[in-house]
């Protein structure tokens, strides 16, 4: 009998390790014929630690399970599917999960992450198998036809990137996986890396075979030590099983991967900064062109894709472009891995075809705010995403629909705020964050963000409000138009959307102490 206790970092953060130990010691002391498997997370975080028991009918879920509850579960006879108030029934039938369309996350939370046999038994490596029978150009064409767009945030068609690298002759090419998932409210990359690492390895291998690259790098942020360790181990296992190395799956084609660790810099999620970091330089961004697809890592043609984009390549190759194309709306094809975060009752991963509205995501899945207070603002797409008010909740999750509202889908993170939020403070934070994380290459971002903090402080302190709001607007326009990359170029989004949709927060009486104390906060940073 198998009992599943997630080893996902978010499950560990709410106590999955002691629960697993309690279950294991009970099994040992009572000499039961059962085995604890540390799976990835299903992404239903309000139920973590979510313990599952394998039964002939399917897996039965219990959660959230504490150490004390684990003992109770044994006494209640949960190994034989006996009822208990923490029992959630068959995992697959939990509505939150059942209503989803899990393509990229088909295996996450189901398989044992580091068992390549389990991966293959759950349809793993079928995409690669098919790719190895195809011409490189045909693989690229398949990805193009699927309509897959970069899931890191920019939404650039992945097929075009791949084709550019394929058509650029060079003695060496690279595939770089951007696993620097820095946007607050996002954790899909982390979940895949911890819960189904081989799908990412397979996706990168397909990309390598398609464009003629023999080396891949995964750049993981240092805030994800668990993902880093899992990937390192998974790469070794793939090498030992002949899926990475001089002859991938006996094809005679070489591809290998190395995982590298970032060091706490948000800007390294920007692809050219990431490449500089990998090369061992001070990771200031590079002006584009040249595009990384033509002159990327070590000046060689390089595919740089986000984790989710690469982890989606296997299912596209396995089931065909048409299968993937059939999900979604407009020019946003396939599924979006929505991550419900912040002040939300049922936070978790929702993989659905593009087109679900924000309201459906937040209420039908998320159940509203965690605090029970009224929802006031939603930030979609990380720290560079716009703040939307309740009135915009019917916007469908689609790249173009969000762009039309001056927002961005980004990497699919949705952070919910209740009515205690102060949007003037959030706008100030957006500038502060940009000041902390700016690489310093271009002036609008480097200087603009610091000036932005100061101007917002003056607005909050009610100093010349009208004049300073006009100045802030002007500064935002300059940053939007004049910055070299998305950090400086998009920081105005949260700022301007806060002013546009929540003007009342910028006209409140000045708080007695805030302004001065706050402006010192930035300088306290290191």
């Amino acid at each position: 009998m198998k009992i599943f206790v997630p080893g996902d970092a978010a499950a560990l953060a709410v106590g999955a390790d002691p629960v697993a130990q309690a279950i294991e010691s009970r099994i040992t002391s009572e000499r039961m014929d059962a085995q604890v498997i540390r799976n990835g997370s299903r992404g239903l975080f309000w139920l973590e630690p979510l313990v599952e028991v394998e039964t002939p009918e399917g897996r039965i879920a219990y959660g959230p399970v504490s150490v004390d509850a684990a003992a109770e579960l044994f006494d209640a006879g949960f190994l034989h599917g006996k009822p208990h108030f923490l029992c959630r029934g068959l995992t697959e039938d939990i509505p939150y999960l059942k209503k989803q369309e899990r393509l990229t996350f088909a295996r996450c939370g189901i398989i044992e992450p580091l068992s390549i046999a389990d991966y293959i038994a759950h349809d793993g490596y079928r995409g690669l198998e098919r790719a190895l029978d195809m011409e490189p150009a045909a693989i690229v064409e398949e990805v193009s036809a699927s309509g897959l767009r970069g899931r890191g945030g920019a939404g650039f068609p992945s097929g075009i990137k791949w084709r550019t690298v394929l058509n650029t002759p060079a003695d060496q090419k690279y595939v770089v996986c951007n696993a620097d998932e820095g946007d607050s409210g996002t954790y899909a990359d982390r979940m895949i890396m911890e819960g189904d690492p081989f799908v990412l390895i397979e996706g990168m291998t397909i990309a390598g075979i398609a464009v003629g690259a023999t080396r891949g790098y995964i750049y993981v942020r240092s805030e994800y030590p668990h993902a880093f360790r899992t990937l390192r181990r998974a790469i070794q296992i793939a090498q030992q099983n002949g899926y990475l190395g001089a002859s991938v799956a006996g094809s005679g084609k070489a591809f290998d991967i190395e995982v590298r660790l970032g060091a706490g810099a948000y800007i390294c999620g920007e692809e050219t900064s990431l490449l500089e970091s990998l090369e061992g330089k001070r990771p200031q961004i590079r002006p584009k062109p040249p595009l990384p697809a033509i002159r990327g890592l070590f000046a060689k043609p390089t595919v740089v894709n986000n984790v989710i984009s690469l982890a989606t390549a296997p299912i596209i190759l396995e089931k065909g472009a048409k299968f993937y194309q059939d999900f979604g709306m407009g020019k946003s094809r396939g599924t979006l891995t929505i991550q419900l975060a912040g002040n939300v009752k049922y936070g978790g991963l929702v993989e659905k075809a593009f087109g679900l509205t924000l309201r459906e995501a937040i209420y039908d899945y998320g159940g509203g705010t965690a605090s029970g207070r009224p929802l006031r603002a939603v930030q979609v797409g990380g720290p560079l995403g716009a703040y939307f008010p309740e009135a915009l909740l019917d916007t469908p999750l689609d790249y173009e629909a969000f762009a039309a509202q001056r927002g961005l889908v980004g990497h699919g993170g949705i952070v919910v705020f209740d009515d205690t939020v102060d949007l003037a403070r959030q706008a100030r934070f957006a500038m502060e964050f940009c000041a902390i994380e700016s690489c310093g290459k271009c002036t609008p971002c480097r200087i603009g963000s610091t000036r932005g903090v100061e101007v917002i402080d003056r607005i909050i302190a009610n100093e010349d409000r009208t004049k300073n709001l006009r100045l802030l607007d002007d500064l935002c326009e300059l940053m939007l138009d004049g910055s070299l990359c998305a950090l400086g170029g998009l920081t105005p989004y949260p700022v301007l959307s806060a002013i546009q949709h929540f003007p009342e927060d910028f006209t409140k009486p000045a708080p007695p102490f805030h302004a001065k104390g706050e402006s010192q906060e930035t300088s306290l940073w290191r």
């Binding site: 560990l12 607050s184 954790y187 330089k281 912040g342």
Partner: protein
């Protein structure tokens, strides 16, 4: 907490030598030094520069760019508190103020007795179980003031 070694040029030399032939070796070397000593000693700059045949300015510029790399040894325990938006929506600002008051330091600083270093971090990827903290590499989600008091208290009791 892993036991950190005191700065030792010979040990640093070994670490550098082991990694210096990797493509783009600088960041892996800096990580190895940081992991062993808990910070990157000023003395490492010229050693790394020599090994990689780059200028000391380039090494220094890279070390100082990254938030992770400390320039002096940390306290015995390192508490990182997430300050990004998802955690803000669940009250991390109050949590940080509470911890700063309790430890008597601002973020980025180490307590006078050397027991704690308090750091801010932007996103631990635990955004559905906010607010989140990392104590000596271990993650905690849904952290209330009581929970963080308990974590700090249990370390203090252990001495």
């Amino acid at each position: 907490m892993s036991v950190l070694k005191t700065w030792d040029p010979e040990r640093a030399h070994e670490l550098i030598e082991e990694l210096q032939n990797l493509p783009g070796a600088l960041l892996p070397i800096l990580h190895a030094l940081h992991e062993d000593f808990g910070y990157i000693d000023e003395g490492a700059v010229s050693m790394v520069a020599r090994a990689l045949n780059i200028s000391q300015a380039e090494v220094h510029g890279t070390i100082s760019f990254y938030h992770d790399f400390r320039h002096s040894p940390p306290g015995e325990h390192v508490l990182k508190i997430c300050r990004a938006e998802a955690c803000q929506s669940m009250g991390c600002d109050q949590l940080i103020r509470h911890v700063e008051g309790r430890l008597g330091v601002n973020r980025g600083e180490t307590t006078a007795d050397g027991s704690f270093t308090l750091e801010q971090v932007f996103c631990l990827g635990l955004c559905a179980t906010s607010p989140a903290v990392m104590l000596d590499g271990k993650l905690y989600g849904r952290v209330s003031q009581d929970v963080v008091d308990f974590l700090i208290g249990s370390i203090r009791r252990r001495g």
